[in-house]
Amino acid sequence: MTEKKYDSVIIGGGSAGMAAACRIAEAGYSCAIVERETALGGILNQCIHNGFGLHHFKEELTGPEYAERFIQAVKDKGLDVYLETTVMDIEDTGSMKSFYGYSSVYGLLHFSCRSIVLAMGCRERNRGNIGTPGTRPSGIFTAGLAQRLVNIDGYIPGKKIVIVGSGDIGLIMARRMTWVGTEVLGVVEIQPYPAGLTRNIVQCLTDFNIPLHLSHVVSKIWGKERVEGVRVSPVGTEEGGNRASFDLDCDTLLLSVGLVPDNEISKKAGVDLNPETGGALVDSRLMTSVEGIFACGNVLHVHDLVDFVTEESQRCGEAVCHYLKGVAPGRQYRTVSGANVKYVLPNMYNPDGDNRFYLRPLVVKNGAELVVKIEGREVIRKKLRHVQPSEMVSFTLDREEIPSLESSRGNTLETGIL
């Protein structure tokens, strides 16, 4: 077993981990990235389509290109990177944290560090989570797994495909599967509106005349060994009994039914989770309930744009630097979600600093307004052009915008969409 000691260790080498690590290294602290796969980049490596980096780099890149810019930065800064190393069992021993890394390259590694950044990304929901009745044949894949099989391994999972869920990954895969010569019979979405971006509906479905069945579910799956077909039913009708249901002969189902932050090892470290996000509860510094353990990127909450992941993770890296320097906010107060908001992050704000928030709307609305109140007093009212659950909203609250607060009160900040 080899001992390794750092000021900070980042678990996960995707866009979140790389951005946080670069900030920490720039400030002169010793820092390492531990990554399970054979390369840095995370999910970006399999997202070969373009549409990344419009905010951050002001140009449209593919996932691997976006990743490569950060991989280069990690190299330039001389960061230590442990590839093919999986982290298990984080131990919190007060001012020092420790954990083991199991590696096919380095053997067993034991890390000790003053701070940890959780950047493990997310997992896809699978069929178990959606509970479609029927047999259990092969030919059912999550869309992200199919994306990896096609784009990285060159393996094509089927010939006639039905996609369940209209999230962006499902839409992107509809185009991808068409371009590799398979037939995509349709996309089935339970909600009355698509979950993905409109541009993806146009360029991934409309372009290829792929039908989108809104307010429909896959109510039954046939097939003994392999999927042979599915029944598609309108929402609110009993399976089989309704005329409006129809059957599709397909050999493959791709599930694009959502992502969940991957917090298995965080839980073991005693990190408190937020049921609304599936990620950690964090204060204004993105520090979890365990002192010295921070979180950013998809492990904190699922992002739709990598640009936001980068921004959030850079701020997380800066917060780690402050923590290592021994600087802590004097006071912090709670944030809560108000009308039409699923969640707002972080869960605390710092009235003596600038704060950046991310929120997930619960509604589809044109000409909506963002309203932020502290103790019932309005501090921000801002027009938002168009909101929908699939698009995260971000805003800043500067120190100057925060009124003087009485320390005897709760000073809770409430964010709503009207």
Binding site: T38, N45, I48, H49, N50, G51, L54, L61, T62, G63, P64, E65, E68, V150, N151, I152, D153, G154, W179, V180, G181, L197, T198, R199, I201, V202, Q203, D207, L305, E391
Partner: protein
């Protein structure tokens, strides 16, 4: 003539209204930036798309893992060229090493658009 379009040049997805009497004079409304106007006009006259895919590699120099290299067209390609490009790129074997931005197929079908690698391997 009139057509409703959705601009796909960025994630905002503006709803465009294209109207014209003759094809040399198309008016676009509803765009929030100049790119929408260019897109709208092209979509009416000659629709184009960026193509992304992966190609086989000719095997890595060390003889280790065989992976696929991701590729894209360096500009939107007129739609009628997409199918033949896909046929060609799936039959290619890219020798390694390869650099991001390296041209793998120049001037596809005389369009001036190139196929480039999007990952260094």
């Amino acid at each position: 003539m009139e057509r409703q379009l959705i601009c796909i040049s960025c994630p905002i997805g503006c709803r465009l209204q294209a109207s014209w009497t003759d094809e040399t004079d198309i008016t676009i409304e509803g765009n929030q930036c100049p790119r929408g106007e260019i897109y709208g006009r092209e979509e009416v006259l000659a629709p184009k798309r960026v193509v992304t895919a992966t190609c086989m590699t000719a095997g890595s120099p060390m003889g280790t893992e065989v992976r696929r290299v991701s590729v894209k067209t360096d500009a939107p390609l007129p739609k009628e060229h997409i199918d033949s490009l896909l046929d060609t790129l799936y039959s290619m074997k890219i020798p390694l090493p390869v650099e991001t931005g390296q041209v793998l197929l120049a001037n596809i079908g005389g369009t001036g658009v190139n196929l480039v690698a999007t990952r260094s391997m």
